[in-house]
């Protein structure tokens, strides 16, 4: 079993122009910082990125937007980010906005081999345009398809050499769902331990879903809205 790679550069080396990639995280929380840097360095272009958000101007997916590497964003909430807005308005960037729960469920569906799911979100709104509607028990649902992505890139707190992952607090968010959904799943972790050191009862993502893993470095973990009390 050879899942360990040296670093982010090695992990993303075969991601080609035009790939569809999922990136875990909610806002800047739990994003795969090392892999994003490696993708920026690699300069791969025309990416379709499935990610709940698009980062800020100088962090997260915002860094890839600065380099014009992204052709299309599939997200639930974007635009904390001036460059994003500029590219969108100029037509350089395509955006597909999806309700957050639908986004999450379409990831899960891929990981669970379910080709499509029914969800309430968006019925009667412009999100429903062109979509199949079906009624169950008097409620109307939209048929939404599982995502099909070449790579999923996630960030975990701890991982082991078999690819088992544990996430921390709300940095979990989309990460375990996307981990299940990638044809190739890359996990960067804060702490990589030998198989046997994680409690099998506490694993969030079983290693079967993870193809490459490495211990990341220099996590900045930037905070978007620092709020404190006294």
């Amino acid at each position: 079993m050879k899942k360990i790679v040296k670093n982010a550069e090695e992990a993303v080396q075969d991601i080609q122009d035009g790939a569809t990639i999922m990136l875990g995280g909610f806002g800047l929380c739990g994003i795969p910082e090392n892999c994003i840097s490696a993708l920026v360095k690699k300069g791969v272009k025309n990416l379709t990125c499935i990610s709940n958000n698009a980062g800020v101007d100088d962090f997260g997916i915002g860094l890839m937007l600065q380099q014009k590497q992204v052709k299309k964003m599939i997200s639930s909430y974007v635009g904390e980010n001036a460059e994003f807005e500029r590219q969108l308005l100029s037509g350089e960037l395509e955006v597909d906005l999806i309700p957050q729960g639908t986004l999450a469920t379409r990831c899960m569906a891929a990981g669970y081999g379910m080709p499509a799911v029914f969800t309430l979100a968006g019925f009667g709104t412009e999100v429903a345009e062109g979509k199949e509607v079906r009624e169950f028990n008097g409620k109307k649902y939209l048929l939404e398809y599982a995502f099909d992505s070449d790579f999923a890139i996630v960030k975990a707190w701890k991982g082991d050499t078999h690819g088992n992952l544990i996430f921390k607090a709300t940095a979990r968010n989309f990460n375990p769902l996307m981990a299940m959904a990638g044809k190739i799943t890359i996990a960067e972790v804060e702490e990589l331990v030998p198989a046997g050191e994680l409690n099998p009862n506490e694993i969030h993502t079983p290693g079967i879903y993870v193809h490459r893993i490495f211990q990341g470095a220099n996590y900045e973990k930037r905070i978007e809205q620092l709020t404190t009390r006294k």
Partner: protein, 218 residues
Amino acid sequence: MLDKFGIAKRIARELQDGYYVNLGIGIPTLVANYIPAGIEVVLQSENGLLGMGPFPFADEVDADLINAGKQTITTVNGSAFFDSAMSFGMIRAGKVDLTVLGAMEVADNGDIANWKVPGKMVKGMGGAMDLVAAAKNIIVAMQHCDKAGNSKLLPKCTLPITGLGCVKKVVSDLGVFNITEQGFHLIERAPGISTEYIKEKTAGRLVISGNVPEMILD
């Protein structure tokens, strides 16, 4: 007239012991400050937490622990973390007892618009469409009128819809309204606000039956 704290305070009266509650960004967040004494309420944050606590002290801040508004927060005793699919799963399955959110417009049939203004940069619906489509009990916290004085309680939403027929109650700066088949049913007036004034400021169908009490806060 209620200020934003008054709106939050009034909504907090709707809470019951054991409720699981999702509070949206803005005024809804303030509701957490007015939870009545003696009842226990669990706050859901749709990015993956049940049991949201207050903001952290400076030395407690954890970048891995944020709410759906991306603010640093804390946990409480009995908190649980989960992924985004389970989070919206519990919302969709009706396990969340009450959802409080803001709105740009509410129609007298319960339609809500709160995610998009044509001509302005569209940031996305986030979890709003999931929440309004699936929550079993939705209260909207909002200003009754826009800055130009036009009613935001309408016969029909003019902005793109977030969800159809889902709002159960509106608490505005002018009063409390149940959404009924007949439209906005005024059940309480904000302090100092007359039914006449509310009539004038409400574009949607308004139901006023008998003497509507003025609310007493504190």
